[in-house]
Symmetry: C2
Subunit: 716 residues, 2 copies
């Protein structure tokens, strides 16, 4: 039995052997050797007591295929198709020639994607599309591995603008769809206003019905009502889906935010009367997207331009809607945002995977400073610090990618049920309502977690490639600059992550986007007890998976079940303590409630992140079971899973000890384990990034071929 | 006695009162209330037992002046002069019109700085300058608050290119200085090669003396010898200070890396024969700097072009040097890098201060979502999470700014002693040698710490301003993109931070840049015992300052002396454990030593950061004593100091508990204290950022004046 097989056996089945070198033993020992060292229990270079068996130093590249299958998930065929499209033509952003030239090329790329058939997936079958959300989202996301500008431009055109017409419109808007799909009619999703980013319900733009002419009058009453950051508005858009407060005659109050199609430019691209258009020009990134501003001065559009699926105005001015609750109507209309969030999370991860792939290839070829052998410089990957820098984020990228897939797959499942009539959008069952709120929370969670990770990791990968990483030709800074805004648009991460916690707190009993502090205190306390008991999973049957893996040695830090338990225990404890903190405030008045909510804001955010950690840890353990036992892919993946876990554990080591949930010896063992794992995985680093199947046009950058690396120009 | 005065009294003098509300009490109580809550001990909105007294909700803006005096330090007059220059003309980077237009404007700005007299400070008195390093560095750094490209372009021209000629040259090079100073002769500092970034001693470019013609032949033997990322090489440079291995006839071995003046372009800007020039074009940022590449094909320059202060070749080819040790000669020549490092650290902080200033002003004017009052949206600063996001990094910015000043002042002092002859550069005393090695470590520490903080904080401030923060016109993304590379150039942060640890380990007994793993094991263990005992300070007499503040209630978490002690205890413990880990390896061979060093790399890095923490904590406490007792500035500063401390403590809460150095109740109290402090400092946030005295041209960005904020276009 070789060492890997032995390790797999120890870890997977034969728990009796664990105590020889397991964490329990090490924990006890670590506690005895007080204050000896910071990072590991070993002082002599021998394996730490809690170490996993190291992988062979000669990596088996065939393992990449197994890992890729896992990472691609159900969307594998669609990702494959897009990757092939991306090999046909280099779609990377080319900034030469000024902003107009860049935009011209972007438009060509959009047309190229139309020809490849990509845009069909974004539209429902009844409107002539394939109605395949899995294909649509995974496709647009995969483009983000090469060119985030193209992802966002596509997302604006087909996902947002097209999505608004497709999902919020009716038969009378069907004639637009073909032109939207083939990019003949470019348009905008005009929601955000200068004064109202996250707080969509307070938009100021008005759409007032005039029964005399059967028209709506679209107006921006103030400068803070100006639509800003709107994709396609800067140059290419001809129409916009405009979100506005809907007013009908005789009613003082708005019917809430509704969406209308408003033409903004004529065929030659000149602004129409009453429409003031601005071009944002330079931004921190995404220079291939023409973001702009829109201001409306009493612009008239026909009554039929109201996207009327969930709310309509009859000729005489009567308002009608299939959804009684004003609140639920609003969130049903905002359903488009869920898809946007999943797409942005995915695009952030796609960029992150590309950057890791580039940095790992560089680290395996770039040398600096002599090591043990005189006159031979070490490769960057031969430095432990560099292995830590590359591989710890990589483990989290794996976890997030898998979670992203599961959420996308569940979203796709929901849409399929809605399309087939099993699930009514306007009149869902209680269970469906619950499930869609949970979906909303999952989308918010994965968007916030993935884009936060993307921003950190893209920067880390740039730095890991030194000066070469800063040259635009090597792609990293473009990915970094583009993905920056992912943390803000389609829902600011700080707002979204709180939504996750609020959902948990109310056990998905309420729509959370409009939850006032007072509501939160009230509903949070009412239902939180349920939440603490309830385990929410991404798929059904998750609990049993955990039970399955937990039949192992529960005391080993490397045991998958124990790992899940430690992470989930923290989630539950943090949630319980939040409930206790807000409980006494049930009878608070509005102002007091607001103060209590502000005072517990960081606690709420901690709850949300703890929930994300739980989702990720479970996802890793579930995914592992899909890999054939004994396969090289599984053996490597197990170490990635443990690396992800130990990183989480060390991040919260203070909390665990504060709550007497982890003895200091175990914390020491965890620190040592991270080092052992990156040492073991170092030689396999390229296998791990090959599994991302990044298109060659993205990773094959100049710094991997010049004289600065092994096999470069003058050294081959 | 108002509440602040009472607080100040409690904290500063009257320790007898502390137990009523001090941390000791709270710690004990916290430990009793097990598992109750995550973030604070309070569940009812009453002050936590360990809370400081809150500051008045109406801030006293006059406190900003006192804080500014503290932050400006001895360089105050020079910073003031540059700020006035920056108010005269808007020097922000303007990217309109393509790269050539940008570069033209940059050159105009450089000439403008010449006219303002700024460039004189970079040059020694004997070469016609003012010989004022304090003015030179603080001036160039202050420009970085507005335009990092201009800081770097100035730094390349006067600090690096000019600095090389000024410091490494002799009388025969004096005629260049005036033209360099007035920007008539732009030049390059051509050190980095494609294959050799951090490892300068292994540069491949050669300078071979030809005694027949009395010339040096400059040659790049391979593509990996190509000089890369060289500022001023892309367009403007006419000459370059080229670092190359020096060879003389009859000697097979190089005399080590030396620097020579090599003309690269003629007057019309065309490359000279044998010089191959490339333009890096697009980079991740610093688009105002024309970085390029240089390759030399046996280019001949006169013997006199060798910058010969520390090593010369006589006409007949004999090599002579006033410094016998080849190693010390090399590091003496690299002295220029120390100034570069201090400048870059300072420039990173300057950009960070501007970004914080902008984000804090925005947070005080931008509203989103209703709070306690119906129909009134809360300002961003009214959210605790936002206060945490802005103010926790701000506290670290304060600490780093103060440390930066102290290091710059000490550097200036060293140069003044050298200029006056009290300190010989070529033949220093043991004490001076020790001090200059310590200086090298301090410069590395502050550069790595400041630029790492800059990158994180600039991103955080961008995100804190949402979509508006992403628009280039609001400056944040430009600062962010520009400062990115600060973590790499003038010494990669990962390499520099390890140098700090290595210096500590050998008690400054060795030059560390070339320390092989074997050397490190050998010398580290020999002298480390000394280091553990020795306290290294930035200024003399520091220990007594700590003793002074420690005469307070040592058990209060808010006591300055206790805070310093906790942070320093960690530094010492981490260093001791590292020494123990490498001790058994004293008799290791080369390969084993390399492995041991790699296995302890993350531990070494932890030692370095712990040292940085100690330096910062002491600096904060020392600085506080400079503020008048009882002044508003002092009261605010005390809270900033504690906020900085608690953030550090929580970051390492796992370690402290692991080592039984902090009971869990105190960790809970520290978490609560952070929240109390940001609540207390929230209304004072603009006072804290006004103290940065950021030029208005930098902070007065469109998003602070448009309809998205209070007092914007349509709301005033």
């Amino acid at each position: 039995m070789n060492r890997i097989a032995e390790f797999a056996k120890n870890l997977g089945k034969d728990s009796g052997k664990e105590s020889d070198n397991g964490a329990k033993d090490s924990g006890a020992k670590g506690a005895g050797v007080k204050d000896v060292d910071l990072e590991t229990n070993s002082a002599k270079g021998t394996p730490e007591p809690s170490s996993p068996r190291t992988l062979p130093t000669e990596p088996d590249h065939s393992a990449a295929a197994g890992l890729q299958t896992l990472l691609d998930g159900k969307a594998a065929p669609y990702r494959k198709a897009v990757r092939e499209t991306l090999e046909e033509k280099d779609l990377k952003l080319d900034l030469d020639g000024g902003i107009d030239a860049v935009r011209d090329r972007m438009y060509e790329h959009i047309k190229f994607l139309v020809e490849s058939g990509e845009s069909r997936h974004s539209f429902s079958k009844e409107n002539g599309g394939s109605g395949n959300a899995l294909a649509a989202v995974s496709g647009i996301e995969t483009i983000g591995a090469v060119n985030p500008s193209l992802t966002i431009k596509s997302g604006v055109q087909w996902g947002l603008w097209g999505g608004a017409v497709d999902n919020l419109g009716s038969e009378r808007h069907r004639h637009y769809i073909e032109k939207i799909q083939n990019a003949e009619l470019l348009g905008c999703y005009a929601m955000t206003e200068r004064g109202h980013g996250s707080n969509v319900q307070e938009l100021e733009t008005t759409a007032t019905y005039d029964p005399d002419t059967h028209e709506f009058i679209i107006n921006s009453p103030t400068d803070s009502a100006r639509k800003v950051y709107i994709g396609n508005a800067g140059r290419d858009g001809r129409m916009a889906a405009v979100f506005a407060q809907l007013y009908t005659p005789g009613e003082e109050e708005s019917h809430g935010v509704h969406c209308l199609i408003v033409p903004i430019r004529d065929e030659d691209g000149n602004p129409l009367d009453g429409v003031e258009i601005g071009d944002h020009g330079r931004k921190g990134g995404l220079l291939g997207v023409d973001n702009g501003t829109l201001l409306f001065n009493n612009v008239r559009v026909p009554r039929e331009n109201l996207l009327n699926r969930f709310g309509d105005v009859e000729e005489d001015g009567t308002y009608v809607s299939p959804i009684d609750s004003r609140n639920r109507r609003f969130f049903t209309m905002l359903g488009t945002l869920i898809r946007g969030r999943i797409t942005v999370g995915g695009a952030g991860l796609a960029a992150t995977r590309t950057a890791s792939d580039i940095a790992i290839r560089y680290a395996n070829r770039r040398r600096q400073f002599e090591g043990g052998e005189k006159g031979v410089e070490k490769r960057l990957i031969d430095y432990r610090q560099h292995r830590r820098r590359l591989l710890i984020p990589l483990a989290r990228t794996y976890a997030l990618t898998l979670l992203q897939n599961r959420i996308l797959e569940r979203y796709d499942d929901m849409l399929n049920k809605q399309a087939s009539g099993q699930w009514s959008v306007t009149d869902p069952t209680e269970e469906q309502l619950f499930a869609s709120r949970e979906m909303e929370s999952l989308a918010a969670a994965v968007k916030a977690a993935s884009t936060e990770h993307a921003n950190k990791t893209l920067q880390e990968m740039r730095e890991a490639c030194g000066g070469a990483g800063y040259m635009s030709e090597n792609l990293l800074t473009t990915l970094r600059a583009d993905a920056d805004i992912y943390s803000t648009f389609e829902g600011d991460n700080t707002v979204l992550i709180q939504m996750v916690g609020k959902h948990l707190l109310t056990a998905f009993g309420r729509d959370m986007q409009d939850l006032s502090p007072w509501d939160m205190v009230k509903y949070g306390v009412e239902t939180a007890a349920d939440t603490v008991r309830r385990r929410t999973g991404i798929r059904s049957g998750v609990q049993s998976v955990i039970d399955l893996v937990s039949n192992r040695d529960e005391d080993s830090l490397f045991d998958a079940g124990y790992q899940v338990k430690l992470i989930e225990d923290r989630e539950q404890a943090v949630l319980r303590s939040l409930v206790r903190r807000i409980a006494p405030a049930r009878k608070a008045d509005r102002a007091e409630a607001a103060e209590i909510v502000d005072k517990t804001q960081d606690h709420l955010i901690a709850v949300s992140w703890a929930h994300v950690d739980s989702l990720l840890m479970r996802t890793m353990v579930e995914a592992e079971l899909e890999l054939p036992e004994g396969s090289a892919a599984r053996q490597v993946f197990e170490q990635v899973r443990s690396l992800f876990f130990f990183d989480l554990l060390i991040k919260h080591a203070g909390w665990y000890q504060e709550h007497n949930m982890l003895p200091s010896g175990r914390v020491k063992a965890a620190r040592a384990a991270i080092n052992d794992l990156v040492d073991s995985l170092g030689p396999w680093s390229q296998v791990l990034s090959e599994a991302f199947a990044t298109p060659k046009s993205a990773w094959n950058v100049p710094m991997l071929n010049d004289g600065g690396v092994d096999g470069g120009d003058n050294k081959a």
